[in-house]
């Protein structure tokens, strides 16, 4: 293991703010996109009167 401790890991050799600032926003963007898709899906299903998710997936 290249890191001495947890705090060493989070410090990122003094660049912690920049490294975690990048990765945190990347994570938020991905979660945000997934949430937006779910909202769009739910709204559409409600609008169409679709309930059973299994039917929509084309399963029996």
């Amino acid at each position: 293991m290249k890191w001495e401790s947890m705090s060493d890991f989070f410090a990122m050799g003094g660049y912690g703010l920049y490294v975690w600032g990048s990765y945190l926003v990347a994570m938020l963007c991905i979660i945000g996109e997934i949430v937006l898709i779910r909202i769009r899906k739910r709204t559409l299903y409600k609008h169409l009167g679709l309930r059973r998710k299994s039917i929509l997936r084309g399963e029996k």
Binding site: Y15, Y18, I30, E33, K41, L48, L50, R57, G58, E59
Partner: protein, 247 residues
């Protein structure tokens, strides 16, 4: 045996095909992401010049690659939809835009957070950064234009025109580091030269790029399915779907 090459060009067949493919691509995305992040933070060595700050590369480069590549794919399908009036192609193009915009934003954001400790500034108006910002605006423009037009077929056509005109920006982004003097470093990976980085760094970056690919495929397939349902809601097959007849 004859193969019907156009079977999946019909939105209804594509709807079910995409539905079956989504779980596999989702699993692949998660696996690549876990392996990629492990390499990024635990097996890739510290950079001798940039220390640990270079670890931003594992999200920055895949995001930048995806933003450019997805734009080309989006323009391609939008163009096919414009030329041959194939409905599904235009729907795929519309489904790509939000994911492309997200990656363009991430490339800019992570670039700024890498630029600050390395160059001493969040932003400079140089060729690479400016052309990537234009790419982000092209995605936003494509989506706003389509959202502003009520008739979906007209929205497809208008979107296709802006998408095709914007294609010229992609080679500008890619070659900007060669054509102009820039703060941005040159390409780390090229098809004609051997890579200029340690194997663990390179493999981590490529695996993260694969994760970004798989993630993009998943979101694009899901969004395409939603667009198909939205646009085909008055057709017989969607009614059958609602009643549970179609399986």
């Amino acid at each position: 045996m004859t193969i019907n090459w156009f079977k999946y060009a019909s939105p209804a067949s594509f709807y079910f095909l995409a539905g079956r493919m989504i779980p596999y691509f989702s699993i692949a995305a998660i696996i690549f992401l876990i392996v990629g992040l492990y390499i990024a933070f635990f097996s890739a060595p510290t950079d001798f010049q940039q220390g640990e700050a270079y670890r931003i590369i594992f999200v920055h480069v895949p995001a930048a690659w995806m933003s450019m590549f997805l734009y080309l794919v989006m323009a391609f399908w939008a163009g096919i939809g414009l030329a041959f009036t194939t409905r599904l192609s235009s729907m795929v193009a519309s489904a790509i835009a939000p994911t492309g915009a997200m990656f363009a934003f991430l490339a800019l954001w992570t670039g700024a957070w890498w630029g600050k400790p390395m160059w001493g500034t969040w932003w400079v108006w140089d060729a690479r950064l400016t052309s990537e910002l234009i790419l982000f605006f092209l995605y936003i423009g494509f989506m706003s234009l389509q959202a502003a037009i009520d008739d979906p077929r007209r929205a497809d056509k208008a979107g296709a025109v802006i998408a095709l005109v914007g294609v010229v920006n992609v080679p500008i982004i890619y070659f900007s580091v060669q054509w102009w003097n820039t703060l941005h470093q040159g390409a780390s990976v090229s098809l004609v030269q051997s890579p200029k980085m340690a194997t663990a760094m390179l493999s981590g970056m490529l695996i993260m790029a694969l994760a970004a690919w798989m993630y993009s495929i998943v979101t694009i397939l899901i969004r395409t399915r939603l667009i198909i349902l939205e646009r085909e809601r008055h057709t017989a097959w969607v009614s059958e779907l609602k009643e549970g007849v179609l399986e």
